[in-house]
């Protein structure tokens, strides 16, 4: 059995993306809602509160809880912060998988694997490049053994 954790480099990237998004939305509020200052400040306050809640509180907890187990028979994905989610997929049900990478994913940790199986799929999020390659090799072996079996 092997355990994989999310690559925490992704938190930094997400922090920057969400921060930029909040800046853009705040600027737009300053431009378009300046005729009603109270509403403008309420909206900006909401954006700031959402930024704090997501980036400072929720995101680190999410990445801390995000982990995956791959055994000989199944894949288990643990996700969630306040509502914990455990998804178990039998490897015998696996049909094929998809690897998704982004630019500079070796540095950013934005690597994803989608496991497609009978009745649903599981997405493994924010893996490091090395972990993604390792998981891909393991799953290819499983599919090959299924074919030979």
């Amino acid at each position: 059995m092997k355990k994989y954790y999310a690559d925490r480099t992704g938190i930094g990237i997400l922090f920057v993306i969400i921060f930029l998004l909040v800046i853009i939305l705040t600027t737009l509020s300053l431009i378009f809602l300046s005729f009603l200052p109270i509403l403008m400040w309420i909206v900006i306050g909401l954006f700031a509160a959402a930024f704090f809640a997501v980036v400072i509180v929720w995101l680190p907890l999410y990445f801390k809880n995000l982990c995956y187990f791959i055994t000989d028979e199944e894949v288990v994905a643990n996700t969630g912060v306040f509502f914990k989610n455990k998804r178990i997929m039998k490897l015998s049900a696996l049909q094929y998988f998809t690897c998704v990478t982004t630019p500079f994913s070796e540095k950013t940790g934005f690597n994803f694997v989608v496991l497609n199986a009978l009745g649903g799929n599981i997405i493994l999020l924010f893996l490091s490049h090395r972990d993604m390659d390792e998981i891909a090799k393991t799953l290819s072996l499983v599919i090959k053994q299924k074919k030979e079996g």
């Binding site: 049909q95 094929y96 998988f97 998809t98 690897c99 998704v100 990478t101 982004t102 630019p103 497609n116 199986a117 009978l118 009745g119 649903g120 799929n121 290819s140 599919i143 299924k146 074919k147």
Partner: protein, 482 residues
């Protein structure tokens, strides 16, 4: 890795491209070739068009595929790169479509499906060069030692009859209505108005006494059915099916040629279909439920288009030897016959009453009310007859590793042959009235991409419980049913 056929660039452009291009060209023509004036006025639209073409080209540039020894590999994406590899063993069906406009340029649309992935769309949809399509099907049809080959090809008359029976008025009307509506959007409202006015004028000249609107609707419905009939003929002419060991290949189509590979182990169930007329003449049509086959719009998952019962049984013995029908061992009791005809009976009685009430309030609409009443009453009476006959044909039986279910859904009779291992869920329901008759409704859900149920109504509860126990489908006691 190869790039997809360049014609894919056209398909990757959004529909908005054509909605923008045609008015732009119209504008240029109306300016009588004043190119600079046209550019000055329409530069934003031109930029958007160039952006659409450019982004389609870049998306095409970054998507590649390869047909490996044991899998199909695909890479796509510009910023988010996607890599997938579908092994041949995971394939449930592969459809290859040589669209008639693409045939001169040797482009083939491939739709690859497995029992996972997207529900409403194939797992992989690519446009390849004809040589790669040949390579893929050559690998899929690599002959193995000792495998038995068998094939079936229906006659042209059978195929015409099949298209006659299975043409859908609804699909034809939807197409014509969409065409009229969309052409109005692109070319201008004048075309839509012209078409509708012409239809009403013709209806007035042809028939006296019926409201023009009703006749115009009848003409559109008839045109819709004819359209569907012609497209079905073109789709299914040349149909032939071949089984080679553990592989099934189907070829069909006249203008647009289609070829299918089906993995018979991934077939969820076989569905022998009849309507009342087909039952009288003892002909039937065999469809199958297999992910990826019959998924496209207006495509029927047909296995044996239409033929006599004896021919169907003998064809199934070769094409699907594991799925054979069997006679009903459990049937509904006579006491529940009214349950089968209940709803069409109530509708048949209710339609004239509703018409009377409407006529009382809107007497100036008499001719329209009479027309609609007659049009509604005819299919209702037909449905009543169909449901009455269904009482005598409904039932269930166990046949080795399969369960054979006979039931009627709307105007169609179904004989479903489903392996026990492909049954996902079984539900027994019983309302208060059924308690007195000691009957129940049995609903069987099959393994599918989406939930598909087969319902038998008012079946004898004791016999159903015995059958489920003997088939090993229900190991626990059914405590809620006495």
């Amino acid at each position: 890795m190869h790039r997809q056929h360049p014609v894919k660039i056209v398909k990757l452009m959004s529909k908005n491209f054509w909605l923008l291009l045609i008015p732009l060209v119209r504008g240029l023509i109306s300016l009588k070739g004043d190119f600079y004036g046209w550019v000055r006025g329409a530069w934003v639209d031109i930029l958007i068009l160039l952006f659409i073409v450019g982004s389609a080209y870049i998306r095409w540039l970054f998507s590649t595929y390869a047909v490996g020894e044991n899998s199909i590999d695909y890479r796509a994406g510009i910023f988010g790169r996607m890599k997938l590899s579908i092994p041949f063993t995971a394939l449930s069906a592969v459809a290859a479509e040589r669209f008639f406009l693409f045939r001169p340029i040797n482009a083939v649309n491939l739709f690859v499906d497995t029992n996972s992935g997207f529900i409403n769309a194939p797992d992989l949809k690519i446009t390849v060069a004809r040589k790669d399509y040949n390579v893929l099907f050559k690998k899929l049809s690599k002959p193995l030692e000792g495998e038995i080959k068998t094939s079936y090809k229906p006659s042209r008359l059978n195929l015409i009859f099949f298209s006659l029976i299975f043409s859908s008025t609804l699909s034809g009307v939807i197409f014509i209505a969409t065409f009229i509506f969309q052409s109005g959007k692109i070319i201008g409202q004048s075309l839509e108005t012209l078409l509708l006015t012409t239809a009403a004028d013709i209806s007035e000249k042809l028939i006296v006494g019926l409201p023009p609107l009703a006749v115009a609707a009848s003409i559109i419905i008839a045109a819709g059915w004819i359209f569907s009939f012609v497209t079905n003929i073109l789709r299914y002419i040349g149909f032939r099916i071949k089984r080679e060991g553990k592989r099934i290949f189907i070829r069909t189509g006249f203008l647009t040629k289609r070829r299918y590979y089906i993995n018979p182990e991934k077939i969820n169930y076989a569905d022998i279909q009849q309507n009342l007329l087909m039952k009288i003449f003892s002909v039937m049509s065999v469809h199958v439920n297999c992910t990826g086959y019959g998924k496209a719009k207006n495509e029927l998952p047909v296995f044996v288009p239409i033929t006599t019962k004896a021919q169907v049984i003998s064809s199934l013995r070769f094409l699907l030897p594991d799925l054979q029908p069997s006679p009903n061992s459990v049937k509904p009791k006579l006491a529940v016959i009214f349950r089968y005809i209940m709803f069409p009976f109530y509708f048949m009685m209710g339609i004239p009453i509703a018409a009377e009430i409407l006529y009382h309030f809107f007497p100036f609409w008499k001719s329209m009310i009479v027309f609609v009443t007659v049009m509604a009453e005819i299919p209702t009476i037909w449905l009543l007859i169909v449901k009455f006959v269904s009482f005598f044909t409904t039932g269930i039986s166990e046949n080795g590793e399969n369960i054979c279910i006979n039931y009627c859904s709307w105007f169609k009779y179904h004989t479903i042959i489903i392996p026990k291992e492909k049954i996902a869920t079984i539900t027994l329901t019983q309302n208060k009235f059924q308690t007195f008759a000691d009957s129940c409704n049995l609903i069987i859900y099959s393994n599918n991409e989406f939930a598909k149920s087969h319902m038998l109504i008012s079946m004898p509860l004791k016999e159903i419980k015995e059958l489920l126990n003997s088939a090993g489908l229900c190991k626990s006691e059914l405590r809620f049913f006495k």
